[in-house]
């Protein structure tokens, strides 16, 4: 029990006042092999040393791999549960949300299994709020059907920022975040830059080209001709 000693109450209180209660969020990666959704979920977890319960079904593990401990920035213990069916994943998540000493519960479900319906997500959300443990459901190859998740994100990778020392190498990861449904805040779209050394996400409004005014096109035509 040495490392698993729970420091949830004390750790991290100064960094972020937990005005927002922890609840159930869903993340839909743009493609199954996109690891941005997992990284975003990890960056939103409270900064504690409490263990994470990480539940995967078989297809998620086969198609999208398993989390690699050396690649996770935070050194917190992870309890992995490898299961074969999605119904078992939901059962374990619900059981884990009874335990207040967990830091977070992360579940990965592949596709749209019949067990993952509105009732199941509602149970998860209510349990997560009752235990005040944040819970993330990462759904690959799934359609955003009816769900009781309080926040629902669509997440895709974007070409990364510039590397400070090597122009050829990929730099800080950038993600396209789309909060398309939220119970607590206004939905919106952002381009996020992940700063790995400090484990922070910087949000920015997406930059788009302005719509063309009719006069502009005419001017360019004139210049060409």
């Amino acid at each position: 029990m040495g490392l698993l000693r729970v420091q949830k109450d004390l750790a991290g209180q100064g960094e972020r006042p937990s005005a927002v209660p922890h609840t159930l969020s869903e993340a839909f990666p743009a493609s199954p092999t996109d690891a941005s959704a997992v990284a975003f979920a990890l960056s939103r977890l409270p900064r504690t040393h409490a263990p994470i319960l990480w539940v995967q079904d078989r297809l998620s593990r086969k198609e999208a791999g398993r989390p690699m401990l050396a690649g996770l920035s935070a050194d917190r213990p992870i309890i992995m549960v490898d299961l074969s069916r999605a119904a078992d994943v939901l059962w374990v998540m619900e059981d884990g949300l009874r335990c207040r000493s967990l830091g977070a519960v992360i579940g990965e479900v592949w596709g749209d299994p019949p067990a993952l319906d509105f009732t199941a997500t509602k149970r998860l959300a209510m349990r997560a709020e009752a235990a005040d443990v944040s819970c993330w459901l990462i759904r690959r190859a799934a359609s955003p059907d009816l769900s009781a998740a309080r926040d629902r994100w669509r997440i895709a990778s974007l070409p990364s920022g510039a590397h400070p020392h090597d122009a050829q190498a990929p730099g800080a990861p950038r993600w396209a975040l789309d909060l398309f449904r939220s119970r607590r805040t206004q939905p919106g779209q952002w381009v996020a830059t992940y700063d790995a050394p400090s484990d922070r996400v910087h949000f920015a409004a997406p930059v788009r080209d302005r719509t063309l005014e009719p006069r502009d096109g005419a001017g360019r035509e004139r210049a060409a001709g």
């Binding site: 029990m1 997992v38 050396a70 213990p77 309890i79 992995m80 335990c99 990778s157 990929p170």
Partner: protein, 488 residues
Amino acid sequence: MEREGNAPPDDIPVVLAREGQHGPVIHAANRCARLEGIQAGSRVVDMRAICPELQVAYADEAGDRAALDRLVLWARRWCPWTVRDGDDGLILDTTGADHLWGGEAAMLIEMETQLSLLGLTARLAVAPTWGAAWALARFGPVRAICAADEAYFKLGPLPVTGLRLDGATVLLLRRLGLKTIGAVMDVPRLSLTRRFVKAGLAANPLMRLDQVMGLLAEPVSSVDTKPVIRAQVLLAEPIFDPTLYLADLCEDLCAQLKHAGQGCRRLHLTVFKTDGDVSHVDVATSASTRDAGHLHSLFRDKVERINPGFGFDLITLSAGGVEAMSVSQNTLEGGADDDLHLTQLIDRLSAKFGPRAVTRPVLRQSHVPERAEAQIAALADSPADMAVLTKERPLRLFDHPEEVRVLYAVPEGPPAQFVWRRQTHRVTRYAGPERIAPEWWKDRPGTRLRDYFKIEDQTGLRLWLYREGLHEDGRGGDPRWFVHGCFA
């Protein structure tokens, strides 16, 4: 010896073999085989030449030892101090216990009777010291009894192998012409001391002789038994479902554990069927506990797996892995114990999905990515030498690297384009290579090195790609490319 229902008849030579340095050697032989001239310790092929109809079975040495340990406790019926002696003996300290059985001779007859009812052949002897009893039981007359002052006369004619010496010393004594214990006793003490001054106990005839004569102490340190903590319910009629009685059994067991100040880590539920058969279900916990409600919940989905047969009329619940457990109050107001909840959660998950499904990854000292992580039990202590990795590693790792078809830009660099899972990825940026050489102390010869690249494709997907081997490295054909992980 292994006991089976189909014991071979006594007129067939049967030996038990164990693995020796040059093939199997004889571990033990039955009487018929010994009469044919077969000796323990010689090679099976040689003995087959002597006796072609020899039957050979492999010896179960660990099983024999465990059976002997059980027999040590079983022998407590005659005296309170018993201990195992080597791999083939029991020592009973019967001081003050023989008169309960009508004297020493009657006690030996009683012991031989009881042991033969178990199907065991025993050679017994009573002597004032451990060493004298050892020698008399193996080389002396049947049911030998040696009083305190008779050791010189009774042990004198026995061969020197009765002194518990190693083979080299016995050979040396034989070469010196000392063939019996009595001959060694007659040698002046000073010469023996001078000759074996540096020898250890197993090679020192003088010290062994002193042990036999009682000049050197050799106490019997008896092994302790733990009391079995068990709850049982005896039913008037056979039933098929133990669920109703399980809660009471758990309560009873936990009350016993609490009384003893102990907790258990395993539970064995056994039902005794009316047709004489036995069926059982085991559950385990990750930390010792005596919480009846929690232990009961572990059986929730497992009781159905019990095979009731024609019904059973006796249910026992016994605790395994019993260890001392002290209760500590960790909050002033007596609130919930968080650590306890976590262990109970892991118990529930392990009981439902098996202990292999619930693991905890820890870092290990290796550069090869698939070996850099070890899976340990969820609540085990992490190993002391946790590796610290400074290189950038992906967030996700595939269990099996997936091969891709590549289009080269330059042979040594990253590919310009590759096809993975039927999709074409164009490499826009890359970092690397990071070369990871095979671990020659583990890998097979001919394993190729890996050059890892972190690449980014046109959609922003960041992947961990590696090339296995080099061009013209003489270890197979062209190098192959694999995707091994995904970055954030």
